[in-house]
Symmetry: C2
Subunit: 377 residues, 2 copies
C-alpha cells in the first residue's frame, strides 16, 4: 500500500498524550508505537512473520551495521532494506552516528563529519550528513534520520550547546541533501543535553527547517528516568502538534509509559530482544530471569495475559530448561514473548488514551510492575 | 489420537522398499520416515510448529542428554517429553548408550551396564538395560530403544561378536523390563559390525525375543556407504516384513535413498539441523556453503522446489548475509530449509515406491546430486 503523503492523523488525546495513525509509503502504523530493533537486517532470533504476528508494524535498522555489512549499495541492488529482509511495513533507520561513537575505532569528529574504522575489519569510512542521507536512501528507508552528535552525559552547558549547534548545522545539511519522496520522511533530532533552554533552541531550529518528524535524542544515556522525563516534558511543547515525535533508544516499560504521557509517539529499544537472548523475560510484574532454578518445576506458562504462543503455550520449566541448556529455541521464544509484551503494552497505552484513562492505566501498570517479579508458585 | 496397537500397515512395495503407515499411540506416520533430532527436548533452532510444518511427523530425543538435564523425573512430572516440548506427534528416544560412549567421561562398561560421569557437571550415573527402559518410560517415549553397545569400527570378528552378544543379553533384559502399553513400542537393535553372519545371528536373536520394531545399529560410524549398504542389505531379509525397520543415525540423502531401496522404513540424523547451524544448505544439487562470497549478490531463493518459506521466500544474498553476520535467524532459516528438504525427499521416496518408480527416482536424484552444487548464476 502506498500513501501519497507521510502524515500523522491524531485521533484522540489524553493530557499531552496522543493516539493516532502514521501514514507512510509502506503502510499505516498505530501510534504510540514501539519499533523492534532489526540491527543487521534482522530482528535477532525472529522471523519477520513472527515480528508482525506480535502486532509490530514498523521496525528499526542500524545504518552503521548495514553500511559495513553487507553494504548499502548491495542492499540497494536488492531493492532496499525492506525487500532484503522481507519486512512489508515501514522501516526507520538511524543515521549511524550513535554506533560510530559507541562501536567503531579511531573516530575523528570534524565539522565535515566523522571518520572511523570498522569494528569488524578495521576498514576506514567517513560519515557526513550528506553521506548518511545517501546511505539511508540506498537502504530505501521509510524514515531517514539526520546525522547528529549524541551529546555525552554528563556534559557542561557549554559542551552541550556546542554539540547541539554542530548537530543543528548537520541537520540543515541533511535537510538539504534529502530528496523528498511521497510517503517517505526525514526526521530531525533535538539535542541539548539536560538543559531545557538548549532543547528549546534545538527544537526551534529544527522546526524552522521543517522536518517530517522530530526525534528527541541524547537521552537514555545514563541521566536516569527523572531527568529523562523532565527533558522530554521540556521538549515536546516546542514541537509541532501534527508531526510525529520519536524518543530514541527508549526504553523500559515505565520509561515508555512516562514518555507517552509527555507526548511521545514512537520508540525503539534493544531491551526486549537483547533481554530475550539472555534469558530475561518481561512481565507485567517486572522482569524475571528464566535461568533461575525456581522455574525448573513450574508448569505454568510465562504470562497468559500476553496474546502470544511463546507466552502462553510453553511452560516456565521448559523455557528454563532451554535457557539453561543454551538452546537457540530459548532465545527465540523469550525474544518473541518480550516483543509481544512490548506490543501489548503499546496497544494498552493506545486504548487508554482513546478512553481518557491513561493516568489510571499508568498507575495500575506501575503498581503491578513494582512487585518486581512474576507471582510465586 | 490414540491407536490401540502399534503397527505398520504396508501399502505398497517396490523391490525391497516399502511404503506404509506406522500407527502409534500418538498418531500415524508415513514411512519411509525421517525423524529430525530433538536432542535436548528441542529440534535446535526450530519451534515444534515449524518442525511440523515441514511434514515431519515424528522426532527423536536423546536419553543421555535428557537424563542429565533437566532429568527424567522432572520431565515425567511434566507429563512426558512430548508435553514438555509441545510435540503432538510420536517421539522415539535412543537408549543413551551411544552418547555415553561419545560424550561422557570415565566410562566403565560391565555386564551389568555402564557407569559414567556427566560431561556437564561430572556427576556420576549408571545406565543399565533396566534403567534405560525406566528412563524412557519416564519420558513417555512412543518408541523406546533397547540399551546396546555400539560396536566400534573397525572391529575384528571376535570383537564384533562379543560386543553383539552383550547387546543381545541387554536386549533380553530390556524386553523383560519394558511394560507394554497400547500404541507404545520397544525396538531391538541389530549389531554385529560389518559381518553378515553376526548380523543374521543378532537379527534372529531379536526376532526370537519379539520386538515391536527393529533397528540396524552400529552403522554410519566410518565404514563408508558401500559397506553400510552391504550390511543393511544383509540384515533386512532377516527381519519380519510386517515390523518397522530403523537405520540409526543415517544420514546423507543418498544414504537414505539407498537404505530405503534395501528395506529401511525409519531414519534419524543430526545432519540437516547441525548443517543448518553452520551455514550449510542441502539442495537437490548437493550441499552448498552459504558463507561463500559468491552468494552475496544472488537474489534468487535458495531452492524454489522445496515447499518451505525458508527455501522460497528469502534470497541467497540475504541468507549469506545472516550467516556471515552470525545471526540466529540465519541458523533458523537454514535449519528450517534443511529439515524441509529432508521431508520433501522422504515424500518423494514414498511416492516413488507407490508408483513403482523408486529406481528411476534414485537415479535422477543421484544425477542431480552429483553436480555437487546449486546451479551457478
Amino acid at each position: 500500500m502506498t500513501d501519497a503523503a507521510f502524515s500523522l492523523a491524531i485521533e484522540a488525546t489524553d493530557g499531552q498524550a496522543r493516539v493516532g495513525q502514521l501514514h507512510t509509503a509502506h503502510g499505516v502504523i498505530d501510534t504510540p508505537a514501539f519499533m523492534p530493533v532489526g540491527t543487521a537486517a534482522t530482528v535477532k532470533a525472529m522471523t519477520v512473520d513472527t515480528v508482525a504476528s506480535t502486532g509490530a508494524q514498523m521496525i528499526l535498522g542500524n545504518t552503521y551495521h548495514l553500511m559495513l555489512r553487507p553494504g548499502a549499495p548491495r542492499i540497494e541492488a536488492h531493492g532496499g532494506l525492506r525487500r532484503f529482509m522481507r519486512w512489508d511495513g515501514p522501516v526507520l533507520t538511524d543515521s549511524g552516528g550513535y554506533q560510530v561513537m559507541s562501536l567503531s575505532k579511531l573516530r575523528k569528529l570534524t565539522e565535515e563529519g566523522v571518520t572511523f574504522q570498522s569494528h569488524l575489519d578495521g576498514s576506514k569510512h567517513m560519515l557526513t550528513p550528506e553521506r548518511a542521507i545517501e546511505i539511508q536512501c540506498q537502504l530505501d528507508s521509510t524514515v531517514t534520520m539526520v546525522l547528529d552528535e549524541c551529546t555525552p552525559f554528563p556534559a557542561t552547558e557549554k559542551e552541550a550547546a556546542d554539540s547541539m549547534h554542530l548537530s543543528m548545522r548537520w541537520a540543515s545539511r541533511c535537510r538539504e541533501a534529502f530528496k523528498q519522496r511521497d510517503g517517505y520522511a526525514l526526521f530531525g533530532i533535538v539535542q541539548g543535553g539536560v538543559y531545557p533552554d538548549l532543547r528549546a533552541e534545538s527544537a526551534a531550529a529544527l522546526v524552522e527547517a521543517d522536518f517530517d518528524g522530530y526525534a528527541v535524542g541524547g537521552l537514555a544515556v545514563g541521566e536516569g528516568q527523572d531527568l529523562m522525563f523532565e527533558v522530554t516534558a521540556a521538549t515536546t511543547p516546542h514541537l509541532p502538534a501534527d508531526k510525529p515525535r520519536y524518543l530514541m533508544g527508549v526504553g523500559k516499560p515505565l520509561d515508555i509509559i512516562g514518555a507517552v504521557q509527555r507526548g511521545i509517539d514512537m520508540f525503539d529499544c534493544v531491551l526486549p530482544t537483547r533481554s530475550g537472548r539472555t534469558g530475561q523475560a518481561f512481565t507485567r510484574y517486572g522482569t524475571v530471569n528464566m535461568r533461575n532454578a525456581r522455574h525448573a518445576d513450574d508448569h505454568r506458562p510465562l504470562d497468559e495475559s500476553v496474546a502470544c504462543p511463546a507466552s502462553r503455550d510453553y511452560s516456565r520449566a521448559y523455557l528454563h530448561h532451554l535457557i539453561r541448556s543454551d538452546e537457540i529455541l530459548g532465545m527465540m521464544l523469550l525474544t518473541w514473548h518480550n516483543v509481544a509484551f512490548y506490543q501489548q503494552l503499546m496497544a494498552g497505552l493506545r486504548k487508554a488514551i482513546r478512553t481518557g484513562s491513561l493516568d489510571s492505566f499508568a498507575a495500575a501498570f506501575s503498581a503491578d510492575w513494582a512487585q518486581g517479579d512474576i507471582e510465586p508458585l
